[in-house]
Symmetry: C2
Subunit: 215 residues, 2 copies
DNA sequence: AGGAAACTTGACTAGATGGTCAAAATAAAC
DNA sequence: GTTTATTTTGACCATCTAGTCAAGTTTCCT
């Protein structure tokens, strides 16, 4: 995807210090924004976590919103990557299995990014509405067409493709977004930390792969 | 639960005006809280939507947090009702179908309540952590035991019961919580408003009921 | 009708918070 | 080593907002 080359901000040479500090700030911001939301987060909180003063943070990101958008954009590409890899020439069931597995791995590895994203959508996507209607919709349309061909070819049970994608998003991201609830309900069952991700994956694959097998 | 009898608020007879105005406020608060979150909401916003002055609102709910908790508690019981109705003596597949159908109907009818709840969990359930660990966990444990019996009796495909419940929550609530995203992706396909809820239900039932059929 | 209780609100306060600014400290360039 | 550009921050300001208060208005009860 050749974009954001000449368009706007990505033109300063970015000194070594710039590079380092911007990364530190974005990491701190993900932590805080994902926990408290945009309005619930203060610049001071982020600055404290990043180990610098508030004016210094403002020196790197002109405003709170600027920073918020940067953090979000940082995660969007990663978010789409697994779906983008859905291979029209692969075995349908295998492809779905790979996709589900990749999405669960992502929920497990980057739960904060998932929650940041979920929070943004939940509140009406004020900052990334364009992303949803543009790149996201395009990608889904594209992949839905592939799934539709699989269904029509009799390789998958008849299911509306877009809704299958929604279902997979829902069940996989649930474990990141509703982590507190999952842990509360499973309390004490968990011997080793995050063990439930494995159980979740098994349950999801059981239901989806069997439910999608052609018949 | 014998509590807060003599302590403070829950004892006034609630005049006609009290009853009416508290309801108006709670309704307005659900609107605003579900859209902007706790921190993103101002008392003035809620008061304006409720058609009264801020001090008057404070007269009915001592603080913003008070009101927030009231609104949340108002929705929690309704939230659990469908799961509570899962009948151990019914046909397993029929019972799951009924449950999924009821949850989708709820997402469609009360999307704001769903989003309020989702937002609260997403941010670590600061106000209802006790509810998750108490009533919610109890109910899930109870119903998971029923499902486990079904599985052991060979009436359902082998699946970890708690995760099956999570999966159903995830796919059904997704359509309320991520409404903006769903609409963005499906844009233009929708002839009649909310039509996609029917499609979603069909897709979910297809996958889950077939995926859960014993084999 | 008349007095008490319940309800309503304009004006206000205290604290929090996003962002500014000028001056100091550090790094880079020569 | 000196000059210049970049980075850093303490002090500050304007605005927003949760909550208060005293004074009014309406409703209820007899």
């Amino acid at each position: 995807m050749p974009e954001s080359q000449s368009t706007q901000s990505a033109n300063r040479p970015k000194s070594r210090i710039q590079q380092k500090n911007r990364q530190i700030i974005v990491d701190a911001a993900l932590d805080v924004f994902s926990t408290y939301g945009f309005r619930g987060t203060t610049i001071d909180q982020i600055a404290a976590r990043a180990g610098m003063s508030k004016p210094n943070l403002i020196y790197y990101f002109a405003s709170k919103e600027d920073l918020y958008v940067s953090v979000l954009e940082d995660t969007l590409d990663q978010w789409l990557a697994p779906l983008a890899e859905l291979d029209p020439d692969g075995d349908p069931i295998d492809e779905i299995r790979r996709y589900i597995t990749a999405k669960i791995a992502m929920s497990r590895a980057r739960p904060k990014a998932s929650r940041l994203f979920a929070n943004e959508i939940l509140h009406g996507a004020p900052a990334i509405g364009g992303f949803l209607q543009g790149p996201l919709k395009s990608l889904v349309d594209d992949k839905a067409a592939i799934i539709r061909r699989w269904v029509e070819g009799g390789a998958l049970a008849p299911v509306e493709p877009a809704h299958l994608i929604f279902m997979i998003w829902a069940v996989t991201q649930h474990y990141a977004d509703f982590d507190v609830q999952v842990r509360a309900v499973l309390a004490a069952e968990t011997t080793e930390k995050d063990r439930h991700f494995d159980d979740a994956q098994a349950a999801i694959l059981t239901v989806f792969l069997e439910g999608l097998r052609p018949r």
